[in-house]
């Protein structure tokens, strides 16, 4: 048999995965705006103590219900005005960023951890295990999320920590379903058989081989779950079941300001705007991530 020539051409060095991802992500302007806003929010949260002009819980009894600086009677001392007991709204909003981001991170992390593990177990072992896990999740999904959160908080008692656990429980079924579907799709693929042949045991197959290939939809769902968590925390706070006064959580700020919606609309508007912008930022980022990471949408 004649000699065959070895591969002659040298292919260019492959592009690193991070650069490839950034190139895909940066294609969407909305995604970049979302990312910028999220970074800004994180910085505000980190440097809250430095940025905020006043302590969030300091009551200025002489300045209750002061309008924002551009309104009649507003002063530059309280740029966004004050609330009914004289606390600076801007400072409370800035410190509230910390709380909202913390709620988002903690709830989503707890939910994601348990959700991924349950989903992996259900998707890998199938059979009775899968049936039990998924039916329990179905029960949780059958209840409206806010009702479920309220029920959990009613059992655990009001407070920010309990609100976070409640939100984590509410988010759980989504991650379980997503992970299980992804695991079932990946478990039949050739590279899993290859790994099994190379001698990988069950744990290694589940966590090292299959799980990393299921991460893309999970990352997107986690980002969107962030904004869900913030909204749910605000709702719980609004109902008096989440953060308790004087914590400057945006939802509780809304609750305590409802009666002033006609007299002093700024007390209601600015916390609402803060929630809106934060949720929008995370949703934009989540959409951008999905466009960049979802192989089915790749252009």
């Amino acid at each position: 048999m004649p000699d065959v020539a070895p591969i002659a051409t040298l292919e260019p060095a492959p592009v690193g995965p991070l650069k490839e991802f950034w190139r895909a992500y940066a294609q969407s302007r909305g995604a970049l705006i979302g990312l910028g806003l999220c970074i800004a929010l994180v910085l505000i949260a980190i440097f809250a103590n430095v940025i905020a002009p006043h302590p969030p819980n300091e009551q200025y009894r002489d300045f209750t219900l002061t309008p924002p600086v551009w309104g009649a009677g507003g002063t530059a001392r309280f740029i966004l005005g004050t609330d009914p007991v004289g606390r600076d709204i801007l400072s409370r909003l800035i410190h509230g960023t910390r709380l909202s981001l913390a709620i988002g991170v903690i709830s989503v992390t707890i939910s994601l951890t348990f959700g991924v593990i349950l989903g992996l177990i259900a998707g890998y072992f199938r059979g009775l295990t899968e049936t039990v896990i998924m039916r329990v999740m179905d029960v949780m999904l059958a209840l409206p999320s806010l009702l479920l959160a309220i029920a959990v908080v009613a059992i655990l008692g009001p407070g920010l920590a309990n609100a976070m656990y409640a939100i984590a429980i509410v988010l759980l079924p989504h991650y379980v379903r997503l992970t299980r579907a992804a695991v079932i799709a990946e478990a039949g693929r050739d590279y899993v058989t290859s790994s099994r042949i190379a001698g990988a045991g069950t744990t290694r197959l589940m966590f090292s081989t299959i799980l990393p290939n299921c991460l893309a939809p999970l990352i997107v769902q986690a980002t969107l779950g962030f904004s869900n968590a913030i909204l749910d925390a605000a709702a719980l706070g609004f109902l008096g079941l989440g953060a308790q006064p004087p914590t400057p959580e945006w939802g509780s700020m809304l609750a305590s300001a409802l009666e002033f919606i006609q007299r002093a609309p700024w007390v209601v508007t600015f916390p609402g705007l803060a929630i809106l912008i934060t949720v929008l930022a995370f949703n934009l980022m989540g959409d951008g991530l999905r466009d960049a990471l979802d192989p089915k949408l790749k252009r």
């Binding site: 048999m1 065959v4 070895p6 591969i7 040298l10 060095a13 492959p14 592009v15 690193g16 995965p17 693929r189 050739d190 590279y191 058989t193 290859s194 790994s195 099994r196 042949i197 190379a198 001698g199 990988a200 045991g201 081989t209 990393p212 290939n213 991460l215």
Partner: protein, 341 residues
């Protein structure tokens, strides 16, 4: 002593009352350093045989064999941990679609060194640098240019031929004694096919590694294998050395396979095809599986199941094995021929 001994391997799927038989009492042995081709059409049970050997047939498949040993170890009754220690180190397998067989999340370098970290030598198990050097060495052995840079590549960044070479590198990393190649070149174009086959052959000779080449392509087998096992509908129907088995096949199925090759039909307008279809799960003939389609079938073929018989190394499963001229022997008479259904 042969490296692999399989006796009466049966693999079935589905309910025990009406099982779909994928592998039907297959027996063979592989010696050290041999290159054996396992040939058959799609659905003949070749891949299932290999997977059964490695213990990868799971519920609802059932594996049963009188004997299935590898280097003396009984493969039928291994515990999970023992099996994991054996396969991956002494037994390796590569698959048809190389890019799908590599984990898309990890670099090529990681996947090669993964096996080394588990089954490698002392130094390799301890030291990441030693593993990396060995990975580069392996990539160079499979003729991948610029091996060091290639370690950082992800599977989707490789072409089919490169990916198959990476698969081969991963498979031979721990110096296996048996490499099963399941249609290694089917997904590749012809020029790369030739390169990969030459590579496999060279590696087998250099390392005295037994190579079981599973394929439906007779040309691949003629090129590379020393011995051929032909399978049909889950049964082992013929075995013989290359090129004898191609010059003088003993079983009508092998003869028909060879007759269907375009090279042997240059004088005709239509390829000689085998009439009928491969028996599925529910229409397996009671005796000889080829009887409904065989041009030489007589009444005995549908009444009595033939056993593998013949000189050692040249057995075939037929009552009337063909002679060197391609005519049935052992008292076959054309007058008794039953028309193929």
């Amino acid at each position: 002593m042969p490296l692999v001994e399989v006796e009466d391997l049966c693999v079935e799927f589905g309910p025990t009352s009406a099982p779909a038989i994928a592998v039907d009492h297959v027996s063979f042995a592989l010696d050290e350093g041999e290159i054996v081709g396992l040939v058959g059409e799609s659905g003949s049970g070749k891949s299932v045989t290999a997977l059964a050997l490695l213990g990868l047939i799971e519920f609802p498949g059932r594996v049963d064999a009188k004997r299935m040993t590898f280097a003396g170890h009984d493969l039928l009754h291994l515990s999970g941990a023992e099996r994991r220690r054996l396969i991956g180190k002494d037994l390796a397998m590569i698959f048809q679609d190389p890019i799908a067989s590599l984990d898309p999340c990890y670099t090529v370098g990681y996947q090669i060194t993964e096996a080394l970290a588990e089954h490698g030598s002392e130094a390799e198990r301890r030291d990441g640098g030693a593993r990396r050097l060995r990975a580069i060495e392996l990539l160079e052995q499979v003729e991948i240019p610029d091996a060091a840079a290639r370690l950082r590549a992800f599977p989707h960044q490789l072409s089919g031929g490169m990916a198959q070479r990476v698969m081969i590198a991963t498979a031979i990393a721990c110096n296996p004694r048996l490499l099963i190649a399941d249609e290694p070149t089917t997904a590749l174009d012809v020029t790369i096919q030739a390169q990969v086959l030459t590579l496999l052959e060279r590696l087998a000779h250099e390392r005295n590694m037994t190579l079981l080449l599973i394929t439906h392509d007779l040309a691949v087998v003629a090129e590379t294998a020393q011995r051929v096992l032909v399978m049909y509908a889950g049964q082992h129907v013929e075995t013989g050395p290359v090129p004898d088995i191609f010059d003088a096949p003993r079983h009508p199925y092998t003869q028909a396979l060879l007759a269907a090759l375009p090279e042997h039909n240059l004088d005709r307008e239509r390829l000689r095809a085998i009439p009928g279809h491969v028996p599925g799960a529910y229409d397996r003939p009671p005796a000889c599986l080829l009887a409904p389609r065989c041009p030489y079938a007589v009444a005995r073929c549908s009444a009595e199941a033939p056993a593998m018989h013949g000189p050692p190394g040249r057995a075939s499963r037929c009552h009337f094995p063909l002679d060197d001229a391609g005519r049935p022997t052992h008292g076959w008479s054309a007058a008794e021929r039953v028309a193929a259904t």
